[in-house]
């Protein structure tokens, strides 16, 4: 007769959890015993700083300064309208993306996972937390009402889900247009029409490619003429209706930080794409030029390029032409980011099996069409997570404008601490606040990029 061993006891209790996760063996137990008081002490100090000792008055009184810097106060409505446009874009964007994912799932015959709205809250909890903290610092009820309004607008945007599948791309167009509209509401059309025109032209080209699927257009010449006409009309409207606004030369605070990083990544994309294609080209001259540029830029820190922008770029323009300090910084950041974008895109191109090119050649596509229809769509899809990573990196790097005495989000601190009430005190409070805001954005984005990587099943 052998003794029957008793069944193992379940560790699925509070005590079991403590035993397996905190005291699995002697060494680990000692570590727990040593770490626990340290963590309690740290938590106590953080609690003291946040609740008791922190002079948060400095943030409360300067919240507007942190958010929009020295933006003219009588023009503040522009920023509020812009946020509404961006909220709308966010709503349309998430709805379109989830609808497109559902379409793909239905096509592939796998169950569609419906995202409940509460999921968004869980995914973006740092940003939600940040908004709540900002609202806590708000002095009046207006910001609360405004946040509710923005939420309502973005909910309105999510009705884009009901667009039929054939018109799904109009959702993306709507996103792009409302982002541009948000930008234009603030900056007006004075002096920046070239930028809007360039964006509109590229959207026009993209749309004409998409329209082809809906109703095949007969000739390239006809399509080009259509795009040119649309661009000319829009450009005409822009130059005719010169709504005066507040150009980015007068932006500052978090508003500037967000736009500078967005502009740097958007503007650097075409350049980076060209550089990547040139580096992969079979033409040695193009390859050498692109490789030289990329390696040169990647070998130096961003600040040296920003110095170049500040001290040299102005001299490289024809006599009489001037660029504001922020424009020069954006130019330097674009040139810098382009090299990194090029390397990311090159990674995507290299990760694509050569069989794709061969298959395209086998069905008789020209090299241009192979690239445009077969290679690029797949390669660009694969690099989306890495591009988000690059955006995070440029978002963090935009703090370098502080060194050039541009009052972006980190730089506004110098305005805050120039006030007599806060001269030489409460530096820790403002810096913790600044770090928290950077963290909330960067952390949410990095989680999103990891999620995208899993969903798209890519990753280089």
């Amino acid at each position: 007769m052998t003794a029957v061993a008793a069944p193992p006891r379940s560790t699925n209790t509070a005590l079991g959890w403590v035993k397996t996760r905190l005291f699995p063996n002697a060494t680990s137990g000692i570590v727990t015993v040593l770490l626990f008081p340290l963590i309690v002490y740290l938590a106590y100090r953080v609690f003291l700083f946040v609740v008791v000792n922190g002079r948060w008055e400095v943030v409360r009184r300067n919240l507007t300064l942190f958010m929009q810097g020295t933006f003219p106060r009588d023009q503040q409505w522009r920023i509020l309208v812009q946020i509404l446009f961006l909220a709308f874009a966010a709503g349309v964007g998430t709805a379109t993306a989830s609808a497109a994912a559902a379409d793909r799932a239905r096509e592939a015959g796998i169950p569609v996972d419906r995202q409940r709205p509460i999921e968004i809250l869980r995914r973006f909890w740092p940003v939600v937390l940040l908004v709540l903290i900002l609202l806590y610092f708000a002095n009046t009820v207006n910001p609360w009402l405004f946040v509710l309004g923005a939420l309502a607008v973005s909910l309105l945007g999510t009705t884009a889900r009901f667009l039929p599948t054939r018109l799904r791309h109009l959702g993306w167009l709507l996103v792009a247009l409302s982002i541009i509209a948000g930008f234009q509401v603030v900056s007006g059309t004075t002096g920046r029409s070239w930028l809007a025109a360039a964006v509109v032209v590229s959207i026009g080209i993209w749309l004409s490619v998409r329209l082809e699927r809906l109703a095949p257009l007969p000739r390239l010449a006809f399509k080009t003429a259509l795009v040119a006409l649309a661009a000319a009309v829009v450009f005409g409207i822009y130059t005719f209706v010169t709504v005066p606004g507040v150009g980015w030369d007068r932006w500052s605070g978090l508003h500037l930080t967000l736009w500078v990083s967005a502009l740097a990544i958007i503007l650097s994309f075409p350049l980076g794409l060209l550089l990547a294609l040139a580096r992969r080209s079979t033409l040695p001259a193009l390859r050498v030029l692109a490789t030289g540029y990329i390696e040169l830029i990647r070998g130096v820190p961003l600040i040296t390029l920003l110095f170049m922008g500040q001290f040299i770029l102005g001299f490289m323009l024809p006599a009489g032409a001037t660029l504001s300090s922020i424009s020069r910084a954006i130019a330097a950041m674009t040139l810098f980011t382009a090299a990194y974008v090029a390397e990311i895109v090159r990674g995507g191109l290299q990760a694509l099996p050569y069989g794709q090119t061969e298959a395209a050649q086998a069905v008789g596509l020209s090299p241009g069409k192979t690239m445009r229809l077969i290679i690029l769509p797949q390669a660009l899809r694969a690099v989306i997570p890495a591009m988000v990573g690059q955006f995070i990196s440029i978002f963090k790097d935009s703090s370098l404008l502080f060194i050039l005495a541009i009052n972006e989000f980190l730089g506004v601190r110098s305005l805050v601490h120039a006030q007599t009430d806060f001269r030489g005190i409460a530096h820790a409070e403002t810096l913790v606040f600044v770090a928290l805001v950077y963290w909330a954005f960067a952390y949410s984005m990095s989680r999103e990029s990891q999620r995208l990587e899993r969903r798209l099943r890519v990753g280089l």
């Binding site: 001259a285 110095f307 530096h427 810096l431």
Partner: protein, 385 residues
Amino acid sequence: MRVLRVVGQIVAIVVVFLLLRWLFGNLVDNSRRVGLSLDFGFLNRPTQFQIPNHAEFDPRSPVYRMVLVGIKNTLLASVFGIALAGVLGLIIGISRLSQNWLTSRLASAYVEFFRNIPPLVIIVFFAFAVFLHGPLPNLREGIEVGFPGTSHNLFIFSLEQWGVPSVADAGNLAYFAIAMLVGLVVAALVWRWRTRIHDQTGAPHHRVVWTFGVLVALLAVAYVLLGEPFRITWPTLSENRRRLIDGFAINAGFISVAGALGLYTASHVAEIVRGSILAVSRGQSEAANALALTSFQTYRFVILPQALRIALPPLINQSLNLVKNTSLAAAVAYAEITNLTQASIGNGRPAVPSIVILMAVYLFFSLIISLILNVVNRRLQLVAR
């Protein structure tokens, strides 16, 4: 088609050439108009400003001396930053994989926090919230931490400088340094000798004991023979408590830059360490377990050597990033090359050649580190038998 390719390349080169010529033509014209020089002659003219915290630097010495001081300080901050990031990152990376819930959570929190804030914010936090407007007293009321049992100071903390013990030349320090080099070479030879004995006979090598024993013995002999070549100096405040005499003075700017970049890069290093440990196949640790190795032995002899092969290339990249990030010291008072270049342009030195030199310095560092990376990659390649 052939012709088209050649023409296309020529067109590309011509376009780039014309663009550059246009830009540089404008640059030369505008500079001439404003009266700015574009040559490097200024390198031999006096610097004309005092580098902060470098009392030994003479403002009358030429600009190239200032550049050299900047390069030295960049290297100093990089070396300490990399050391801090390496040690901290290794500990945190391993902790993140710990079974212990507290340890792994604490390590995760560290990584997720520091990875997602700009390094410049950390540097500025150190410089402004810890030092300049922080809780520390200024040097006059510096906190002196005594060495137990003596009247010497072990540390002096203040918001401008920290004092730590150091060694001072008592006559023959140079010879002792030579002896130290010789000792290191001998120690390396001893290490190889013990390894060979172990490989050939299987006898226990005791490499660490042997190597350090020989090194310590040699240094002791040298110390006695040279008749006390150095003495330890303890940090002391001068009579009027204005400056630190004796000991070694570490400036607040240095601690800000090296410390902040060390903390920031440690989060990246930790991720690399974690990733490469996870990349070592699970069978390896199971096999080690089957051989009844302790968990320390498993890490030391099985996992870490294999993880190192995966981790080394990205780690070298991170150190390059850290070297480039030392340029953020331009925001605080630390006299590295970017900071000094900015100051010297502000003092009227020509901007174009100054920035060209600055970029060349960083390119040189990048090149060196890329070379190291290539060598390491070649040596790490698995040799198929």
